[in-house]
């Protein structure tokens, strides 16, 4: 057993405490349970002061002696046990890996402890909130996605990496970017630019946009994973860099921005560690099609799902700002959406040479 640091010891202690409470309950003839904060819209509220989405106080009890809960109860302890073993052996693994570790058939039946990874992922999140332990504290990581490049030097697990010399591929942002893994070194960055997708990020990298603008450019492959969001927050807080978010002009893009800004419903318990309430929405605005003369043939018609999603977002407390209401309403009214790539209609590097510099210069963003 590898020597454990204080955080690991605390996490293992929490897991043991949970198990002991179950044993006590059963010895007393009671129905053992695990108490888990509810992770749904109903138990999430927008903290106006901190400007982040927070988890409420609702908790649900997961009982063993309840036909509909028994399996999940069992799964909770299978995952807890696996995590404890990971921590004690000082190893970290992916949540997919954990699914395979804990999957086996029960007794001599055809039933499995887990049928799909879809079953084990929420259990992991349950344990995170139940134990108030971060995923990395459980020695788990999600599949890696997200790339970063920019005028900064970092240390990753003891290796010094110069993000100015990452070629065309960039540096893959790991899922765990806590201080004990990643430390920041020398940098000349003036701001952070988070773009929605890989393809657009590649354009910015190839055009050496980061070099010209002294910007750290990072993408999260759609909805940014925890590692990317945590990284953005650390850059913002520790290096005092403003954050700009560049996403498609569609409800999905807007929502990505809102998650970066104030956290998601599902991971509301981690908002404090991830949200960047000061993040600025730089594009693509519903009004850019006029300002930047986008021809109507690059627009995509919104489908019913898009419209419904947009309407839903109109009601979210964190989209109540006048500017946001105008953005969303304009999108619904026009019935069309635009991808970032639509800007390439004006020239392949229009986005890096004209669009973004103009917007930054004119402070044409939503805070």
């Amino acid at each position: 057993m590898a020597r454990m640091d204080a955080v690991s010891k605390r996490t293992v202690g929490k897991i043991e405490k949970l198990a002991e409470s179950v044993i006590r309950a059963v010895k007393g003839g009671g129905n053992p349970f695990v108490e888990i904060p509810v992770r749904s819209l109903a138990n999430v509220r927008f903290n106006e002061k901190k400007r982040v989405v927070e988890l409420g106080n609702q908790r649900q009890k997961r009982y063993f002696f309840n036909v509909s809960m028994a399996k999940k109860f069992m799964q909770t302890f299978l995952v807890s046990d696996a995590c404890k073993e990971l921590i004690e052996s000082g190893k970290t693994t992916s949540i997919r890996d954990l699914y395979y570790i804990t999957k086996h058939s029960i007794g001599d039946t055809k039933q499995n402890t887990f049928e799909e990874q879809d079953e084990s992922d929420p259990i992991i999140e349950d344990i995170e909130v139940a134990l108030d332990a971060l995923r990395e504290e459980l020695h788990l990581f999600a599949s890696r996605k997200g790339t970063m490049v920019g005028p900064i030097t970092i240390r990753d697990s003891g290796d010094t990496i110069d993000l100015r010399r990452m070629g065309s591929g960039g540096w893959g942002v790991p899922s765990i970017v806590e201080e004990n893994v990643i430390q920041f070194g020398r940098h000349e960055a003036k701001y952070v630019l988070l773009v929605e997708k890989d393809a657009v990020w590649s354009r910015f990298n190839e055009d050496k946009f980061w070099k010209r603008q002294n910007a750290i450019i990072i993408h999260g492959g759609g909805q940014p994973p925890r590692g990317v969001r945590r990284m953005v927050q650390r850059l913002h807080r520790e290096l005092k860099l403003p954050v700009y978010v560049l996403v498609d002009n569609d409800p999905w893009g807007f929502y990505i921005y809102s998650v970066v800004k104030q956290g998601s419903i599902n991971l509301a318990f981690e908002s404090m560690r991830m949200a960047v309430p000061d993040a600025r929405f730089i594009g693509l605005s519903s009004f850019d099609k006029v300002t930047y003369k986008l021809p109507s043939n690059v627009a995509i018609k919104m489908d019913d799902g898009d419209v419904a999603r947009a309407r839903q977002m109109l009601a979210y407390p964190w989209f109540q700002a006048k500017q946001w209401q105008a953005e969303i309403q304009e999108m619904v009214k026009s019935g069309v959406k635009y991808e970032l790539e639509a800007l390439s209609r004006r020239g392949i590097s229009f986005i890096t040479e004209e669009y973004l510099p103009t917007k930054l210069k004119e402070k044409d963003w939503i805070a």
């Binding site: 179950v22 044993i23 003839g29 063993f64 028994a70 302890f77 029960i106 039933q111």
Partner: protein, 661 residues
């Protein structure tokens, strides 16, 4: 009675309607009698034509008198054989067997002998050509019993004279009632084949064995013995055998016979039945008990059941000096005090001669009203001989054993031996199953394991009741589960005085009572106005000194309200037992299911938790199992409540309110 009431109501309605029609009617003066009736238009036309059109007198009263003569009862039934159940050759086959078996069983019981009956059907066409007769043909039906035998002098009248018998003039529970049955069968045989009925009988060891051929003189309704021999030897110490050659249809009629044999052995568990069929192996239904049913006692009629005409006849036959004595001796439950009360209500003198009553309609009517207006104790009911709960159960068990051996239900959903014949080939030679001991160790009370199938059996014997002065008693037995289809209407087996009723189900009061019972209360589904649906057989038996059949062929019981009500009460009681069983089984299923889920997971949880806390998983598992048992039970209780509630909800649905005690 209900029919009469509705008829009265209808007449009432009609007269009221008439009153509503606004016709100017002379109120004060009646229509003046016209000496010459005003000729109607038709008559007018006739009169306007020739005189010769007036109908010619065809015969004088004297001429007609020469043609008027007595119709013998035999002649009457020759022409109306459907009234006795000889409608067609397939039904005649069954009726012939049934009448003979009824007599055999009655005789055995009356004599106190455990019956062993052999029913045989021979296909004469098959015996001649080696091929089974298709459709109508000649058959010999034989029924042999080990009964007391018949005295030589009586035999011709019993088999060769209609309306001759011992059972008509008494009130006693027996299968036969009128004294028509076997002689009608003999007549049917004679009519269709010309062959006489052949009787072999012996009254005891050392006594001679007589063999007769008896024909019926249908004009005179009297027997003619065409052969009278004494046999040297017979394999029975005592008993009777009849052979009847008849035209029958085995092809289409055998299913009725099969069912009759099965059901007879079901309702008569003290009886062994052997069944010999053309080209098939002998089948035996061994007796399930060697205890004879309680002897049925003869009773005098109850005053409330007697009708005016019968009252007059009885008065005429009475040997008593005065009417008070007549009442006391001819009826049951009439003491001197009660007789006095009746006469007071009737306004008659006690010293009046019974013959006066017999001769005077008005006096008789007074007496009849007096009887109806007097409260009289219900007739004695200990005269009845029900099958009884235990024997009904044994009967069902041994019946089911044979059914399970012989194969499942027939095509029409009836439990039936026809199907058995088809499946027999696969099973190899089917051997009659011995009746299993009903008192085996059971998991649940009332559940019998028969050939690997679990049957729940419930029986209810109601206390005796009275309809129209006749005591009767209702018994209901049900068998649920086993290998029966769950999506078919239940099997209804109807019995009257232990005789299976196979026809006219729709006209039968038993069927009506079962349909009227709301079985949804007992967790069975039931389409409106139909039998319930489920894997169940329902046996209903009515025992009475006089079963009110709807016809002489004794196929359906008249729906007297008292009888319907009793059947419903018995069915409900059985139903409640069934519902308790179904509920219990549902619990058991649920419990097992719950247990297995928890047990599966407990193992995993204990393993994981044990590893986390670094202790052995076994004690943790044991603790979990201990709680599991407790929790499942507590949970079952709530599940219970839910089921109960659901049952109540169905009960509350308005259809028919359950009449209950």
């Amino acid at each position: 009675m209900a029919a009469k009431a509705s008829r009265v109501a209808k007449a009432d309605r009609r007269s009221r309607q008439l009153e509503l029609v606004p016709v100017a009617r002379p109120v004060a003066e009646p229509p003046a009698p016209t000496p010459v009736p005003a000729p109607g238009p038709a008559e007018d036309a006739a009169a306007g034509a020739t005189e010769s059109r007036r109908p010619k007198r065809r015969a004088t009263a004297e001429e007609m008198a020469t043609r008027q003569r007595e119709i013998s009862i035999s002649e009457f039934f020759t022409k109306n054989r459907h009234l006795l159940g000889f409608d067609n050759p397939s039904k005649a086959l069954l009726t012939t067997i049934k009448e003979a078996v009824d007599n055999s069983l009655d005789a055995c019981e009356e004599a106190g002998i455990l019956p062993e009956i052999t029913i045989g059907v021979r296909d004469l066409g098959f015996e001649a050509s080696g091929e089974l007769t298709k459709g109508e043909g000649r058959f010999v039906v034989s029924v042999e019993d080990n009964g007391p035998g018949i005295v030589k002098a009586q035999a011709p009248k019993i088999f060769g004279k209609l309306l001759y018998g011992s059972k008509f003039h008494r009130l006693k529970q027996s299968r036969g009632q009128q004294g028509i049955g076997i002689s009608a069968a003999a007549m049917y045989g004679q009519l269709t084949t010309g062959q006489p009925i052949r009787v072999v009988s012996r009254t005891g060891k050392g006594k001679p064995t007589h063999s007769f051929d008896i024909q019926i003189d249908t004009r005179k309704n009297s027997p003619v013995v065409t052969r009278d021999e004494t046999l040297d030897d017979w394999h029975q110490d005592h008993g009777t055998r009849v052979d009847l050659e008849i035209v029958a249809n085995w092809q289409s009629g055998q299913k009725f016979v099969n069912r009759y044999v099965e059901h007879t052995s079901l309702a008569n568990p003290h009886c062994t039945v052997h069944y010999l069929r053309p080209k098939q192996a002998r089948l035996s239904f061994p007796r399930a008990t060697s205890e004879l049913p309680k002897e049925a006692l003869e009773i005098r009629p109850h005053p409330h059941g007697v009708e005016l005409g019968a009252l007059m006849t009885m008065a005429g036959d009475s040997k008593s000096h005065d009417v008070k004595g007549f009442l006391q001796t001819s009826f049951s439950r009439v003491s001197a005090q009660v007789a006095g009360e009746i006469l007071k209500h009737a306004g008659l003198r006690e010293r009046m001669r019974p013959r006066e009553i017999a001769g005077d309609r008005d006096l008789a009517e007074k007496l009849h009203r007096g009887i109806q207006g007097t409260k009289i104790m219900a007739p004695p009911v200990n005269c009845l001989s029900p099958i009884g709960d235990a024997l009904m159960r044994q009967g069902l068990v041994s019946f089911l054993s044979v059914i399970e051996t012989e194969g499942p239900d027939g095509e029409d959903g009836q439990l039936d031996l026809d199907q058995a014949a088809k499946t027999k080939g696969k099973k190899g030679k089917a051997k009659p199953a011995p009746a299993p001991e009903p008192a085996e160790v059971e998991a649940e009370e009332g559940v019998e394991k028969i050939k690997g199938h679990d049957y729940f059996i419930a029986t209810v014997t109601r206390p005796p009741r009275v309809y129209r002065g006749n005591p009767f008693q209702v018994e209901v037995g049900l068998a649920h589960g086993g290998s029966w289809p769950a999506d078919r209407p239940v099997e209804l087996f109807r019995f009257a005085n232990r005789v299976p009723l196979l026809f006219q189900r729709g006209a039968c009061g038993i069927h009506e009572a079962v349909v009227k019972t709301d079985w949804r209360n007992y967790l069975l589904s039931q389409p409106k106005g139909s039998l319930p649906v489920g894997p169940m057989a329902l046996l209903v038996h009515i025992a009475s000194v006089w079963v009110p059949f709807t016809s002489e062929s004794k196929e359906a019981v008249a729906p007297y309200p008292e009888i319907i009500r009793e059947i419903q009460l018995a069915a409900q009681e059985c139903g409640r037992k069934l519902a308790a069983h179904i509920r219990k089984r549902q619990h058991a299923d649920y419990q097992a299911q719950r247990r297995s889920i928890f047990e599966l997971y407990i193992h995993e949880v204990a393993q994981a938790i044990g590893k986390i806390v670094g202790r052995s998983p076994d004690p943790i598992r044991r603790e979990f199992m201990r709680v599991a048992e407790k929790v499942t039970e507590a949970d079952l209780a709530s599940q219970d409540a839910k089921l109960e509630e659901a049952a109540e909800k169905t009960a509350r649905r308005p259809r028919r309110s359950e009449e209950d005690e």
